[in-house]
């Protein structure tokens, strides 16, 4: 690239063809990635019944906030949003604390039995008792049908722990040593020195924890039967199933729900819910990009 600047070489025919092909492909990729979300936003802000007539692609034809209003006015949905936020915040904080502190302890080369500990931790990444014995365990521990079933079983994530260990190992030991000489114990060193230095890994792993919590729904389907504990993702799954059954019948007459007195249809409510589900992620991840790219690299392979 530098040489191109120096010499300003004439672009060959091959350059023209390749650059245009690549540009077209990349533009297509961006469109295919972004458009479904854009379409979803357009539908969410369009009158539900109007949408069933078809032809609403790029701009809302009959703009309205009704879909969001209907959704938020429903006690079931507002409660689900509260549950989702609660479990995302507490799950992320507790996850970072537990996973982070274990990673810190295991990051020291000189810890006695370190190799054996590592093996015991890592084995759980590859072999598990399976879903059913896991369910039996959760049931016997009394976690079924409690809020904690969302939080406690995922607090220590071994994969995230490995990412954090790698980060901690980049902190020079000399920074700790002066604190040890001052007589600080390991917990103090963790809080005062290691934590402030590991913002990048906290951001990466925090994002992973938060996204997992925000998106998860299988735990709610199988481990919870109380409606008061349903997160947003669960309700969304339900509403999508409903419109899926509607769309699986090809006969147009089956669109009976469109004729209801409400101005919102199942589909338009679903679109509004999807916009609510995607917005927080969309607002956060681009700012954490430089961190998680590094995190993925470090976490993926150890040579």
């Amino acid at each position: 690239m530098r040489s191109a600047k120096r010499k300003r070489k004439k672009r060959t025919l091959e350059d023209w063809i390749m650059d245009s092909v690549i540009l077209v492909v990349m533009v297509l990729i961006v469109i295919v990635t972004i458009f479904p979300f854009y379409y979803c936003i357009v539908q969410a802000f369009n009158n539900g019944i109007d949408s069933t007539l078809g032809g609403v692609y790029f701009f809302p034809r009959s703009p309205t906030l009704d879909n969001f209003k209907t959704l938020l006015a429903d006690a079931k949905w507002s409660r689900a949003i509260v549950i989702s936020v609660l479990k995302t915040v507490s799950g992320t904080l507790l996850g970072l604390l537990v996973t982070g502190i274990v990673a810190y302890a295991l990051s020291f080369e000189k810890v006695l039995f370190r190799k054996a500990y590592h093996k015991i931790y890592i084995f759980t990444m590859y072999f598990s008792g399976g879903l059913i014995p896991y369910y039996i365990l959760l049931k016997s521990l009394g976690f079924i049908n409690t809020f904690w079933v969302y939080i406690i079983p995922g607090m220590l994530n071994v994969y995230f722990m490995l990412i954090m260990i790698n980060f901690y190992q980049t902190i020079p030991q000399s920074l700790y040593e002066s604190a040890w000489i001052d007589g600080a114990n390991d917990l103090v060193v963790f809080i005062k020195i290691a934590l402030p230095l590991s913002k990048a890994s906290l951001a990466t792993v925090g994002l992973f924890f938060a996204v997992n919590q925000w998106n998860s729904w299988i735990d709610s389907v199988y481990y919870v039967t109380k409606d008061s504990l349903r997160p947003m993702s669960y309700l969304m799954m339900q509403i999508i199933n409903k419109s899926a059954t509607a769309s699986s019948v090809t006969n147009a007459q089956s669109m009976g729900y469109a004729a209801s007195a409400l101005q919102s249809t199942t589909t338009s409510l679903q679109m509004a819910a999807m916009v609510l589900a995607v917005t927080p992620i969309l607002a956060i991840y681009p700012f954490l990009q430089k961190y998680f790219v590094k995190g993925v690299m470090i976490g993926s392979i150890k040579e």
């Binding site: 274990v102 810890v111 059913i132 014995p133």
Partner: protein, 316 residues
């Protein structure tokens, strides 16, 4: 506190070291106890796969219920769902390996050839987005865009006169494999490209300059410099992805699968969930799940050993 370098020369007994590392060891053992409960205890629960187990008997029932040998395993293998779920799991994984694996590599190479750093950044950021979006939202998007009633894709294709009858992408079993593979590509292409983008960024720029002076065309430079330079990364990633051959994507199967395409969408994981937790056949479902994790763990350790032997890199 750790022992510091001064003390290392002296012979320090293990007990003394442990005393110094009191806090660290407590933390690590705390983590071990947690894993003992949430990861190792369920492994003991695998016993129910060989027993006649009722959930009402609780944890004690794992040990006290009657042995039944390999009855559940036989029932699964000779049952009518076996061929369907095993075929679907394997076909979907192989399609993923054949299609969803190379595409991120091609994407990373194209991205590297793209001029204009602002646009490059935009493409990259956009391509990561679907990774963070749940399969629920992805399936919701699919049901709206591909629906045979009012779905955008069918409407467009019909308006352009490409098809005369709407495609039943979501309900026709024969189209499920294509649907599953393409949504997988759509969701994870950018994310899986990260490691290749980084590998390409690490290539020495002087190689390209030298090739240019020698009159190599751009395609030749990609073929003779970029690809060979990231070959190691490609091989590692490929071998490691062999480890997940029997795992399948549970969320995708549960969400995009429906009664009409069940014959092509049901995979081992989704079958275990349905039989076990929805029909309460805990013992039978554990047996199916156990067979799968056994094969899976053999594949992981096998592919990891391969990777260590041939490319000198491994997961742990």
């Amino acid at each position: 506190m750790l022992i510091n370098s001064r003390e290392i020369g002296k012979s320090v007994s293990k007990r003394q070291i442990l005393k110094k590392q009191k806090t660290l060891q407590t933390i690590i053992i705390g983590g071990l106890i947690y894993l003992l409960i949430f990861a190792y205890l369920p492994m003991v629960g695998i016993l129910v796969a060989f027993k006649e187990y009722k959930i009402s008997s609780g944890i004690a029932g794992i040990f006290t219920s009657n042995w039944i040998g390999l009855k559940w395993f036989k029932e699964f293998i000779f049952g009518n769902m076996f061929t369907t779920v095993v075929r679907n799991t394997l076909v979907l994984s192989l399609l993923k390996l054949a299609i969803a694996f190379p595409i991120p590599i091609i994407f990373a190479i194209m991205l590297n050839e793209l001029k204009g750093s602002k646009f490059k950044k935009l493409v990259q950021t956009a391509s990561y987005l679907p990774h963070f979006i749940s399969w629920i939202v992805v399936s919701g998007l699919c049901y709206t865009l591909f629906s045979s009633v009012n779905g955008l894709v069918n409407e467009l294709l019909m308006k352009c006169g490409i098809i005369s009858d709407s495609l039943r992408i979501l309900t026709d079993g024969k189209q499920y494999w294509a649907l599953a593979t393409s949504t997988e590509v759509w969701k994870e292409m950018g994310w899986n490209a990260i490691i290749f983008i980084a590998a390409i960024a690490g290539i020495n720029g002087t190689l390209y300059e030298a090739a240019e002076i020698d009159g190599a065309t751009r395609m030749q430079r990609i073929w003779h410099i970029t690809l060979p330079s990231i070959k190691g990364t490609i091989v590692i990633m490929f071998i490691l992805s062999l480890g997940s051959l029997v795992n399948g994507n549970t969320e995708q199967a549960l969400l995009l699968g429906n009664d009409l395409n069940r014959e092509y969408s049901e995979i081992i994981n989704s079958y275990v969930l349905k039989v076990g937790l929805a029909q309460f056949r805990f013992d039978y479902a554990s047996a199916v799940g156990f067979m799968q994790s056994l094969i899976s763990v053999i594949l992981v350790f096998g592919s990891n050993a391969l990777s260590r032997k041939f490319v000198g890199a491994s997961l742990y």
